[in-house]
Amino acid sequence: MTTQTTDRLLTTSKAISEAIGQEIERDERVFVMGEDIGIYGGIFGATEGLLAKYGPERIMDTPISETGFIGAAVGAAVSGMRPIAELMFVDFFGVCMDQIYNHMAKIHYESGGNISVPMVITSAIGGGYGDAAQHSQTLYGMFAHLPGMKIVIPSTPYDAKGLMIAAIRDDNPVLYFFHKGVMGLGWMTPNPRATGPVPEAPYTVPIGKADVKRDGRDLTIVTVSLMVHRALDAADALATEGIEAEVVDLRSLVPLDREAIAESVRKTRRLLVVDEDYKSFGMSGEVITTAIEEAFDYLDAPPARLAFPDVPIPYSRPLEQFCLPNADTIAAAARALINA
C-alpha cells in the first residue's frame, strides 16, 4: 500500500484545492477556468479558497460556454500556459466534446510530437444521491476509449493531491475525474473514507500506476473511485467469513496499469471487476480482457463483473439503488466467485 507518513487529515476536496494552490504558487503558467470556481469555490469544492488567495487572474469564473472556454484552454496550453479547465459535471461533455477528444487529445500526435497540450480538465463524476440521468454519470469508459488523453480518478485524499500535482506537471492533456461521493462534502451523505492523511508538502502520485488498497489471497477486486470504498467495505465483511479479498484501485485508466491487474490475478486466481459506469463496452470489459490476455493460465474461475446496467440513470431512489453496486452486492458477487 502507498506509504503515508503523516497524521494530518484532509478531505478529498481540500486535498485537491491544496494541490492546485501549491502548483499555482510554484508555476506562474498555471491558472484555472470554469463555472462557479471563483467565490463559490467550485460546486464540489475543488477550488475552495483559491480565489481569495490567488485572485481572479488565476481563478477565472466563466460564462456557461464550455466549447468556448475549454477550447480556449487548448489554445492557451499550446501557447505555453498550463491551464486547468473545470467541466462542472462530466455529463456536460456533450456540449464541448469536439474540443476535448478531437482537438486537445490529437494535437500532439497530429503534429508528430512537435506541439504539446499541457492542460488538465477536472470534472465531477458519479451519482447515488438522486441527481438523475444527466447529472450522475461516470463515463470514464467512454473517454478512456479515445486515444490521446490521460485519465486519473483518485479515490482517497492522498491520491487526490498527488495525482492533481502530477496531472498539472504532466505535459500531456489529463482528464482528472473526482467522484462527488469521495469529496467529503458536508452536504452529501457522510463518508468516512473521504477523509485521510495528506502530507502538507507537495508530492506526486505516478499516473498510470494502480495501488493495492487491501492485500488479499482469495480473490481480486479491481475498481476505481467511489467503488473502491464500497469494495473495501465489502472486503471487511468478507474477512469475517474468512474470505480475504485483494482490492486494487486502478487510480488511472489511461495509461492502464495492466501489469498490476495481471499480478493480482496471478496471485488470487479470481477476478471481480466493480464498475459504476455503464456495463457494456467499458472499463469492466477492458480489465477482464487484460486479465485473460496477461494471466489466462492463472484463472481458476471465469472473471466476473458488477456494473451499472445499460440504462439511463433513473431518478427515484429504489431504481437508482437497484442499479448501483454496493458493499452487499459486491460481497455477494465475491462469494459467488469463490464458489465458482
Partner: protein, 372 residues
Amino acid sequence: MRQEILMPTLSDEAEEGVLVTWFVVPGTPVRADQLIAEVQVEKVSEEVYAPADGRLTEILVQPGEVVRQGEPIGVLEVGAPDATAAPVTRAPTGRSTAPVSPSARRVARELAVDLSTVTGSGPGGRIVEADVRAAAEQGAGQGPAAGPAAAVEPLSPMRRAVATRLSAGLREAAQLTLTAEADATDLVAEIARLSGQWDRRAGYIETIVRACALALRDHPRVARQWTEEGLVTPQSIDIGVAVAVEDGLIVPVIRHADAKGLRELSREIADLAERARSGKLTTPETRGATFSVTSVGAHRVDAFTPLLDLPQAAILGVGRARLRPAVIDGRIVPRTLMVLSLTIDHRVIDGEPAAAFLDRVIALLENPGSLA
C-alpha cells in the same frame, strides 16, 4: 469477558482527542496486538491495538467524534476468536468430459497430473486447481481426489504475529550475529550472594539486563532505530525481556532499565514474566523496547542467532552457563562460561561498534561488582 478499550492518554495538557478511524468492523474477531483504531490528541496520533484476543463487539465512538482521554471507545469481548471458517467442501461429480480451468491446466502440466483421471469439483464438473493439486498429492492417475489428506491446524493469532514480525524483520534488516564468551564464574558467586541478601532467588537475567543497560549508556548508537528519514536515537533505555509462553513468545519491556538496580530489576522481571505467562500483560507493556534480551540458557544451546523485532537494531541472546575448561595464566582451570550472541541490524550498526558494545557487556558481567 467484557473489556473496555480506552482512549489513550497522550497529553497532559489536553483533555480530549478525536477518534480518527476504526480499522475493524464491530463483530469482527481480533487478535491480541492487532491494530484496531487510530486516535489523535492535538497533533499526536496514536495507534490503538487490541489488548487481547477476542471480538470487537461495540464501537462507542464514531470516526470524527471527540472523546476524553481515558474514556471507553469500544468494547472487546475477550476470548478466543472463532476458528477460521471451514473450507468449502465440494462434492465431486464424476463426469468424464469435464471443462478444465486455465489454472488447473497449468498446474496439471507442472505436476504431471493426467487430467482424465481428475474429477472436477467446480460448477458443471469443472476441474479447478485444487482438484489437480489434490490428485497430485495422492499420486496422479490413482483415482479421484478424496478431500484434504493431512490435518491442518489453523494459525493461532500468536503464531501469525510471531511469523509476520520476525520474517518482516529478516526481509528488511541486514541481520548478522556476533558471539563472544563471558567468564561468568564471579557472576555465579555474586548471584548466590544476592540471593542470600535479598531472601529470594536472584537470577542471571537481571544481571544481563543491567549490564546491557549500563553498556547502552556508553554505547547509545546500538539502540538507534532505522527510519526512511534517518536514524533515531531513543530518549530512554527500555529493554525487552523475552518470555516463553505457551505456543509462543512475549517480550515485556523494562522502562528506564539503566535507572533500576539489580533488586528492582529482578522483581520487575519476575512480575512481568508471571503476568506474561498468565496473559495479563497490557499492550503498552510490550511496546517500545529499544533493545532486547532473550535467553535459552535453561537448555543446552550455547550460541544462536536471535532475530530482531523491528525497529530495534540489536538483541542479545544468552546461551547456557556451564562449567568448562578455560585457560588462565597458562593453566587449564574449570570456569563457568557462557556465550552471548548479539544480533545487530547492519543498516544501523557496524560490526566494530557492535563488538565494542559486546565487549563492554562482558566486561561488566565479568566484574559483577560494577553492576550494583
